[in-house]
Amino acid sequence: MTGTLNIAIWIATALTIALALWATLRRKNWVVMLCMVVLVGISLYFIIPPSTKTHLGLDLQGGLEIVYQAKTADGKVPSSTQLDQTISILDRRVNGLGVTESAIQKQGTDQVSVSLPGVKDPQQALKIIGKTAQLEFFKDDPQSRPVGPVASKDAALKELQSQGASKAEIQQLSTDGASAHYSLVQSPADPVSGQPEQWYVYKLPPAMTGAAVSGARAGFGSDGKPNVLIDFTSQGSKQFQAVTRELYRSGLLKNQPQTFAIVLDNVMESDPMIDYTKPDLRDGISGGAEISGGNMTLQESKDLALVLNTGALPVKLVPAFQQQVSATLGKDSLHQGLIAGLIGLGLVLIYMLIYYRFLGLVADLALIVYGILLWGLFSAIPVTLTLPGIAGMILTIGVAADANVVIFERIKEEVRHGKTVRSAVNSGYARGFKTILDANILTMLTAAVIFEFATASPKGFAFTLILGVLVSMLTAVLFTRAMLGVLAGFAFFGRPAFMGVHAGQIEATAAAEDRMGASRRRRAAARAQGDGAPVAVADSTTATAAPAPPSGGRRTSTSRKKKKKRR
């Protein structure tokens, strides 16, 4: 329902803009004004209430951002299918965390960026998201476990080398935790039972893998401690039964209970024992398995279940960039950014008003409309507002105001040259627009290049800049033009003083124009005589450009003479 409504609003917006363009060409100023009112209305619909409809980036509301470098198990660049799979698994994990506005994106060919604005416990999130979740079941017999338990990683690797493993394999095991034939497993220290950390080397392939798991859920064991129950697929169930039956039998044979290891990402999560004295285990365990990691907290058991449920990632994720912003910092940044923006906007409004008087008022109104439209566009798309984005927005205030400055300077120039205010407005827009178009196209060109090639934070900035330039063309060109067109109908509008042009300036410029004409005629005469020298070049140039009465001996006297004549 809301989807259809949104599409309808987008279409209405597009039509309104098209209508405004058409009306501008046809000089139907009232229609343009009306279109703007409609656009402002649509923007307000998207903006209000701002507290829920403005999307804040994590630098403004606190949260966690991580960029992962993805590698396949053997250290290569992952395929795009693998990356897509990774993203969908990450997505499920993040949803499991209950973060609402998360964003998971591919970056380049081998990076994934995860942003979790407003996440309550970033440490917990970190532990869950980046987990490869490679689940492995190993039998704990000398064949499957050539090394262990030993006290350190180095000791484990040394022992494996003494058993004849190649140097290259040891090296790979040391850095990646796994090699072609072996997997290095750590059993972390347990502060409760006082057991120190232990290391093992298991032989690959494992008896079972995560592929056998159909689901997992957090619960409590018979000892009342939190645990995770694993359910197997029908195939996995059979495998598990076979493994446990085998362990039961060898336990019976050796007269010693046998264990198997449940390993997650090279860490031993659980080491359950098959009790050979219980005859009901004779045929193995058929139901499911249980991970009871000694003193797991309830939260940890839930996290583990979530990770197991979402499945193993096809790649290994190494954090390349991580940023964790506290909510306090985010709120303060937003606050400061808003204050700076508002003061900045206020100063610009005042400056325009002082310098351009009545025209300034028109430009100010256009700037306010610009602010509303841009904000509305941001909420509607929606663009996530970040700090660089705010900076970009504040900069575009300048760009939007500048479009008016360019045009108004043109209009003032035309008025000084003696045109009526009404025709000056028309030709001012016609000439000013070309300049603005060129300048804005170039700004957008650079912004587009930044957007395409730069990484995260400059990207948001560039996007803001592009939107800002587009919206500013709408308000600073179409809207102000229509407004001036409508106002031109009123009598007061014809007075040049309303745009800060004084009668004296008009005369001075007109006089200068006069002399320009005179010098041109003189030069033409000189040319006609065959003598190519421009007679009074320095004289004429200075006069043309100086809006104020020119200073300096000879020239001043000339212009005075001229003025007197005119009077």
């Binding site: 470098q69 991580q322 660089p388 205030i397 500048d402 170039l442 290049v449 041109r520 450009a545």
Partner: protein
């Protein structure tokens, strides 16, 4: 008031040597600083932020501000004797005192242990229920990617500008525009090296924007030159450029003021990140406004005055003055 009148009739093109010298001095100082601070390698002459290196940076506020020595001891005991620790008067923008600790890259587990150690020793501040604890970690390859992507962006942007300006104006104008761009780039980089300010990804975004803004300013002057050329074809080229500058001067000043005002507000009232941004923008906008008048236009004039008909006009004007 007299000054304001004079700038509308000043012979800018006749004094090009001064402008070129001024720019050369500023850029020269920046380049020397880059070489000296970088120990002969200008690339190393900047103070790069964490994004370009590798490591973990933690900004944290505690319930009671401990001494630097206490924090150093705790961090050392946690296994990071090489960490750089700094007291900061405001934990990233807020007015709360705290510390900034920079270590080698920490893994997730290490991060957790480290935070625990800090909390055990000093108790992390928790105003209104949220911890004052910010963390940033950058792996080895990330910084290199940011740099290479930024350089690529600048190079492509410059190339496109060259093409666009050549297409819309003439290659001589494109040379002037690019020279102004490079000028602004060097000025900003030089000032960052001289002041030793930290270069972050925000700085790079700002520099890229400056390119766009400076060009915008230059194009507006060029546009007027293009418009005046047929009208004032009998005038020596330099004088015609002067006229164009005088005519666009009010706009240049007003626009610069209008863009500088909000950016100045960011510099004054914004938080730490916004301040970084604003500083680069401020330097760039001023340099950009300067370069349109004092770099881009003189270069176009120099190139254009070499054309035979413009040379003739100039010589004629000179003999006339005598």
């Amino acid at each position: 008031m007299n000054f304001f009148r004079r700038i509308y009739s000043f012979d800018y093109m006749g004094h090009k040597r001064y402008w070129f010298t001024l720019s050369a001095i500023i850029i020269g100082a920046g380049l020397i600083s880059l070489f000296v601070k970088g120990g002969g390698n200008p690339v190393k002459g900047l103070n790069y932020g964490l994004e370009f290196k590798e490591g973990t940076r933690i900004t944290v506020a505690f319930q009671k501000q401990p001494t630097l020595g206490d924090v150093r001891q705790t961090v050392s005991a946690a296994g990071y004797p090489d960490a750089q620790i700094q007291e900061t008067p405001n934990v990233s923008g807020t007015n709360v005192k705290g510390f900034q600790i920079q270590t080698t890259t920490l893994s997730t587990t290490e991060q957790e242990k480290f935070k625990q150690a800090l909390n055990d020793a000093f108790i992390i501040a928790k105003p209104s229920g949220t911890e004052m604890y910010n963390l940033q970690t950058v792996g080895a390859t990330f910084g290199r990617q940011v740099v290479s992507s930024s350089i690529k962006a600048v190079a492509i942007a410059l190339l496109l500008i060259l093409l666009y300006v050549t297409f819309r104006f003439q290659w001589k104008f494109a040379v002037g525009a690019i020279a102004a761009e490079v000028h602004d780039l060097l000025v900003v980089v030089g000032i960052y090296s001289l002041t030793g300010r930290e270069v972050t990804t925000a700085t790079i975004a700002a520099v890229l924007t400056i390119l766009g803004y400076s060009l915008y300013d230059t194009v507006i002057v060029f546009d007027r030159i293009r418009e005046n050329q047929p009208k004032l074809s009998r005038m020596p080229y330099g004088d015609m450029v002067n006229v164009s500058l005088w005519e666009t001067l009010t706009r240049s000043i007003n626009t610069t003021v209008i863009v500088v005002l909000p950016v100045l507000c960011l510099e004054l009232f914004g938080g730490a990140t916004l301040k970084d941004f604003a500083f680069a923008l401020l330097v760039g906008i001023i340099s950009g406004a300067y370069s349109s008048i004092f770099v881009a236009s003189p270069i176009v004039t120099v190139l254009k005055e070499r054309e035979p008909q413009n040379r003739k006009l100039k010589l004629a004007a000179r003999s006339d003055q005598r």
